[in-house]
Amino acid sequence: MIPEIGEFALIIALLLSVVLAVVPMYGATTANEMWMSYARPLAMGQFLFVIVSFICLGYAFAQDDFSVVYVAQHSNSQMPIQFKLSAIWGGHEGSLLLWALILCGWTFAVSRFSKALPLDMLARVLSVMGIIATGFISFLLITSSPFERYLPRFPADGADLNPLLQDFGLIVHPPMLYMGYVGFSVAFAFAIAALLSGRMDAAWARWSRPWTNVAWAFLGLGITLGSWWAYYELGWGGWWFWDPVENASLMPWLVGTALVHSLAVTEKRGVFKSWTLLLAIFAFSLSLLGTFLVRSGVLTSVHAFASDPERGFFILMLLAITMGGSLTLYAFKAPSVKSESSFSWLSREVLLLVNNVFLTVMAVTVLLGTLYPLLIDALGQGKISVGPPYFNAVFVPIMGTMAIAMGVSVAVRWRETSTETVLKTLWLPAVISLLMGLIFPFVYGSGFDMRVFLGISVSLWIISTVVSEFIGKFRNAQTLSSRLSQLSMSYYGMMLAHIGVAVTAIGITLVSTYSEERDMRMAKGDSVELAGYQFTFQGTQVVKGANYMADQATIEVTEDGQSVVTLHPEKRRYNVKRNMMTEADIDAGLFRDLYVALGEPLNEGEAWAVRVHYKPYVRWLWLGGILMALGGLLTAADKRYRKSSRKQESVHA
């Protein structure tokens, strides 16, 4: 009964979204205020019914209702309750429902928190989101309903969830990522509304900017969590594989980063409007493209969903309608290059434009590398692979050059800056970062290393320019506190995010240069030395988990005879599907991780294959990602986005 209610609620949500897609939009075109005012209640209704549907699916999981096909395939009665619930999005159908839920949630949020928006703008924005919701909910109902039943006979127990997914990572990673993917639909909807109404002024940028920043922050957080999850869960200590699925999330993030910057220019200076619109369209389109790549099976990936060309076809249609439609609209209605203000060669505008070019080229490079095997195959030129060596070779130089521009852009002002001012702010950071970069490999490593020199210099350059610019702000200030409070939230957000980039860059540089790893055959009492640490194998014992049995090894780690930590990597065998899984054990630290994974037993269990890793500064990767996301959130929390709405209310009153 409950699953049927879920399905029914979804059908109602679909009907509401169809109405939302049509009525307010029509109202906005004909200036019919009553029709426009339907937008808000419709957005709420749509959200409510998808929530009902989602709760029904959650109930089916919690109650072990294995008559529901999706539940039977992705759950098992032995699974702990938190994994049963997160298994809701452990497969294609449920994760699509989560997608729809978040989409309707964003729509509802826009309808609630955009009091400042003129009604026609709001009506258009919500209608565009209604169109997207119509597409996705009908996709759910037609090809991927999670409520289908095994009737009349159903399995006594579920087939269990892939053990990789029975983890904390599954609980947090997909919701965050989808918040980001779907969040770009708001920026997209604002862009379409702007194109339709012909209103692309600074006000438009101001409305759409906080939404975009929040979505961007969530996407970044989602990617960071995904990287961290892969690192500890897959058992081989990698944190980025350039897999199509990862690239699918990186592309919208890169374009989103460009969008966040371009929106800042459009808001502050009223320029680059058509470019900003294009980026808003692309950011969401790339999110959709990612969905297509992950769910259609056109590319092979380690973590793709069970793929199905029919579903692929449906998403491709959605993609063609949204992207084809919006780009056609763009081609006809985008403003011709019309400037509201001027700027000189050495200005923040130009540097941000340069940054946009770099970010866009990076996104295009990822797209090219990801799709190239498909292009070659479609042209009948055979099968090739494009993997990490390619991406590293192409990506790193572009990223490094952009980092240099990042430092400069912080030091220049809007409109115009004299060369002397820039040199005055930048010479000290330049000297410091180059010197430190030069010294670092000698102090930390065993000798000069070009990669470390470049990586550290560039990272310190980003940090020191931000800091030097910050200090520069106090030169003319009367008191410290007055100055601190004068600086806007978005300024602090920018600083934090830029420092985040540097922190991530330091992490990447050091972990990829100074990591050490050994694969060892270890019997009881054997020990191995790695990066000054002594790993001693103390044998294994059998332990029993909720739904698995495991061989658990005990490995003592000492440094200069001092005990550091005792690690317990496991090799698990899950009861239901009998699949084996390596559960690594990690001693995490700010400056280094010790990572141990257990392989196969050798010689009938006398010895084991063991892999030990030493991963310096690996945490910095994710720390930087978190800083970037926090920066994005801070910027969105800036007073001016709230102030304008308060002023608005007073006008109404």
């Binding site: 294009l278 259609s296 063609a320 084809g324 011709s336 292009l375 479609a378 055979g382």
Partner: protein
């Protein structure tokens, strides 16, 4: 002119969508053999049923043959076995077995129980001939012409349909040779 430039994104997207649409009908996992139209690799391995007999390429050159890679650990091989027996009964083309990374006694039992469609079996215990051949998993079937050149590789189960295709291919050569 600038107005026309605004159509560039749309045009690029249409091209991209075209490729994606084409991509839906391509299986990214299906790998063509790197040895296509190249000679079957040289080898010297024992026969499965007569360990003392050493087989080389010369043992099947001179006529088109099918080389079928199989193993007892491979469930799909069991599925295609009946079809292989049917092919053997037609006597139209010799079927050579390449017993890949298998256990000799288990393989013998398999042939006794399920029937033996093979003229003879190459016993590739270490999988090194398989490696030279670019095998990445059983079952795989190679079609060789009389000169021992690999003309086609099929990965996966041989079905009636695949057999039809193979026959057409062989017929095609006949007409070219005449």
């Amino acid at each position: 002119m600038p107005r026309l430039l605004l159509f560039i994104p749309l045009v690029l997207f249409i091209i991209l969508a075209g490729f994606l649409w084409k991509g839906l009908s391509i299986d990214p996992r299906e790998l063509p053999s790197a040895l296509l139209n190249k000679p079957f690799p040289e080898f010297s391995l024992a026969a499965l049923q007569q360990p003392e007999r050493i087989l080389t390429k010369q043992d099947f050159m001179g006529q088109p043959v099918l080389v079928n890679v199989w193993a007892t650990w491979c469930p799909s091989c069991r599925q295609e076995h009946a079809q292989l027996l049917t092919i053997a009964q037609t006597n139209s083309i010799p079927v050579i077995g390449l017993n890949y990374k298998d256990d000799r006694s288990a393989a013998m039992v398999w042939l006794q129980q399920l029937g033996n469609p093979y003229q003879f079996n190459i016993f590739d215990e270490a999988g090194m001939l398989g490696l030279d051949l670019g095998v990445y998993g059983a079952p795989e079937t190679y079609l060789l012409d009389a000169q021992g050149i690999i003309r086609y590789r099929h990965v996966g189960v041989i079905t009636e349909q695949v057999w039809q295709d193979l026959q057409n291919m062989i017929k095609g050569w006949g007409s070219v040779n005449e």
